[in-house]
């Protein structure tokens, strides 16, 4: 009865335990981090705070702009790749999984209950220069002897893609699964008939974007890559994406796509282990810089400033993305 009369209390009551936890164990450390970005000094001489040290920010941005850009590229490419791999998988589990739904879902996540390091070592054994895959290919002369995947940008992007895959599959699955698939099929019948551009356009956009990013990452001509990607995507989209899917199922899953891409893109931006274990000197990301600044160089101010820049950039990107995708209403409850 109390709650009925004071409904405004309900959201706060729901929020309080979790937000208190974050306030206690996140906000304080975050403020500490912000403060230490204005430090100057060293471990031995001690650190002193001064607002005059704001120059750490432009200096850090200037010095590490390459790694920042590289992080955005790699994380972006990995996000699109995880999306393209995850969507059909989540779709199939949600609508064709039947009784095996839960088992399949578990099979997607359970590999990630084991150690990252063990998984990465395994991939290195599989993709070694003369390993299980490339060894035979090289013997047969299909690929050049000097060809390798490890210690290249491909390895880093693939590593991120693999390791964040469940973070894309699960949210898409949970948003798809709540919908009634018959709706999509009914819509398919509705829109059956003359060709409609939905699938073609969606395929062209997704694939064009991916190819463009890969072009930037590997230094190929971006317009050519984007065009090639768009053509491939348009053909695939026309064949595989029905109008019913584009108009009914896809919108239904948008909150999941939004959530999944955040869960992949944001942590991937700050990731460093994949680049450290699978990359070369030219593939370090901003996370590697922060790691090294902090641990090796004991340069806490720069490490903190870089982290703060990264956080702000992510928040801005998330805001823009939410607006672009039009999911704000979906995710923030404005609808009611």
């Amino acid at each position: 009865m109390f709650l009925r009369r004071h409904r405004w209390i309900v959201p706060y009551a729901l929020l309080t335990p979790g937000l208190l936890w974050l306030a206690a164990f996140y906000v304080w450390p975050a403020v500490q981090m912000f403060v230490s970005s204005f430090w100057s000094g060293s471990v031995e001489r001690g650190f002193t705070f001064s607002l005059e040290n704001w120059t750490t920010y432009p200096d850090a941005l200037d010095r590490y702009s390459t790694q920042f850009q590289r992080s955005v590229l790699y994380a972006g490419a990995a996000t699109i790749l995880t999306f393209m791999i995850a969507y059909p998988l989540a779709y199939a589990i949600a609508f064709r999984g039947g009784r095996l739904k839960n088992l399949l879902l578990f099979l997607v996540v359970a590999p990630f209950f084991t150690s990252f390091l063990l998984r990465t070592i395994s991939w290195k054994i599989i993709l070694g220069d003369d390993g299980l895959v490339f060894g035979p290919l090289k013997t047969l002369g299909f690929v050049d002897d000097s060809f390798r995947v490890l210690a290249t940008p491909i390895a880093v992007i693939s590593g991120i893609t693999y390791n964040f895959l469940p973070f894309m599959v699960l949210p898409i699955y949970v948003s798809l699964e709540k919908g009634d698939q018959r709706l999509g099929e009914a819509a398919e019948d509705l829109y059956a008939g003359p060709w409609r551009p939905g699938g073609t356009i969606a395929g062209a956009i997704a694939s064009g974007l991916l190819f463009a990013l890969l072009g930037v990452a590997f230094g190929y001509s971006v317009p050519i890559m984007a065009a090639a990607g768009a053509v491939i995507g348009a053909v695939a989209g026309t064949l595989f994406l029905s109008e019913g899917f584009i108009r009914v199922t896809l919108p239904l899953s948008l909150p999941g796509v939004f959530a999944g891409s955040l869960l992949v893109f944001i942590p991937a931006l700050g990731d460093y282990v994949n680049a450290a274990l699978l990359g070369n000197p030219g593939t370090n990301m901003i996370g590697n810089v922060i790691q090294s600044r902090f641990l090796v160089n004991n340069d806490y101010p720069t490490a903190s400033a870089l982290s703060f820049i990264l956080m702000v950039a992510i928040l801005v990107a998330v805001a823009i993305y939410a607006r672009l995708l039009g999911t704000e209403s979906l995710t923030e409850g404005r609808r009611l």
Partner: protein, 407 residues
Amino acid sequence: MTDRPILEHAVTRRAFLAGTSMAGFAAFLAACNAPGAATPTPGGATTGPTEAPTEGPSAEPTEKPSPAAELNFANWPLYIDTDDEDETKHKTLEDFTAEYGTVVNYSEVINDNNEFFGTIRAPLEAGQDTGWDIIVLTEWMAGRIVRLGWAEKLDLGNVPNYVNNLVDVYKGPDFDPNNEYHAPWQAGMTGLGYDADVTGELTSVNAYWDEQWAGRVTFLSEMRDCVGMALARLGYSRTDVTTEQYDEAIAELQKAVDANIVRAFTGNEYAEDLVSGNVVLAMAWSGDIIQKQYERESLRFTVPDETGTLWYDNMLIPKGAQHKYTAELMIDFVYRPEIAAQIEAWVNYICPVKGAQEELAKIDEELAASELIFPSDATLAKVERFRTLTEEEESYMNDQFSALIGV
């Protein structure tokens, strides 16, 4: 039957030692008959501290506290002997408990010098107890801790075995001239690790700049190990490197990066790449190659003719440790030759304890004759330690090195 104790594989080990191209191996064989001859009092040195509390040079007759009920010991993983029968037991620690009644809380929490420093910096800076009584850090990091005043000073009267049995080469480092703050635990060398089937025998650091193996060479991401090789190529010494020489070395390394010779700057993962054949030449740590040779017999470790790096990990008592006296007992305990031999028989790094070789010979003659565990003077003459840097130097050099490796 899990982690195979090394003793079971005497034959393999012999084959390995015979096949290993250790520079100065012959010289070693000649010299190894009596390396312990230099030990002044091997017999007396094995006495427990309770019997000989005042033996050390700076010892004063003070009243001894009794050993504490527990000792908190932080070490690197797989860095102490493990019982053959029950692999969850460490015999050395049990022996210590049997003798002093102290339970040793032994934790394998140290993975990386910098990372571990990150975890103990905050408490030490705040004047808090880190929770550890003994920590083990590589000499350059040990030097930093000593310089920061974050290590307890040893009461040398409590550690007579340490005072008497420390191998000479570790005495009087620049960061601790009287050996009052640190005690070496194990040592190792950095040199050429390579696949002899592909590269043939290598003896010179110039191999790291050979474009023949471009893309199949890894350098270490540990600054001193990596730059040391470039210094050696340029004919400079690690023990008195100047900033100018350092800059030259970085430029030299940059050439190798620009020529795409360097596949990656790595930590431990180079060993895995050597085994799988992705890499044919690496800057390598001596102890690793012993193990990896079992998996790829053609792997070799050579101390380069131009000099390799000697590094060693050290026990330190962090400031404010709760059981300092018991920690000293432990340090002294592992400097008893028979205990050192017991650890060495399992760990296989370089032993810094005089007399341990004779003790080890009683357990396993072959191991005791290993150049990689008890290197000869000829080998030791070819390795040098990177000198201790001031904070400014270290900061400058780390910055230059970071730029080189792309962070």
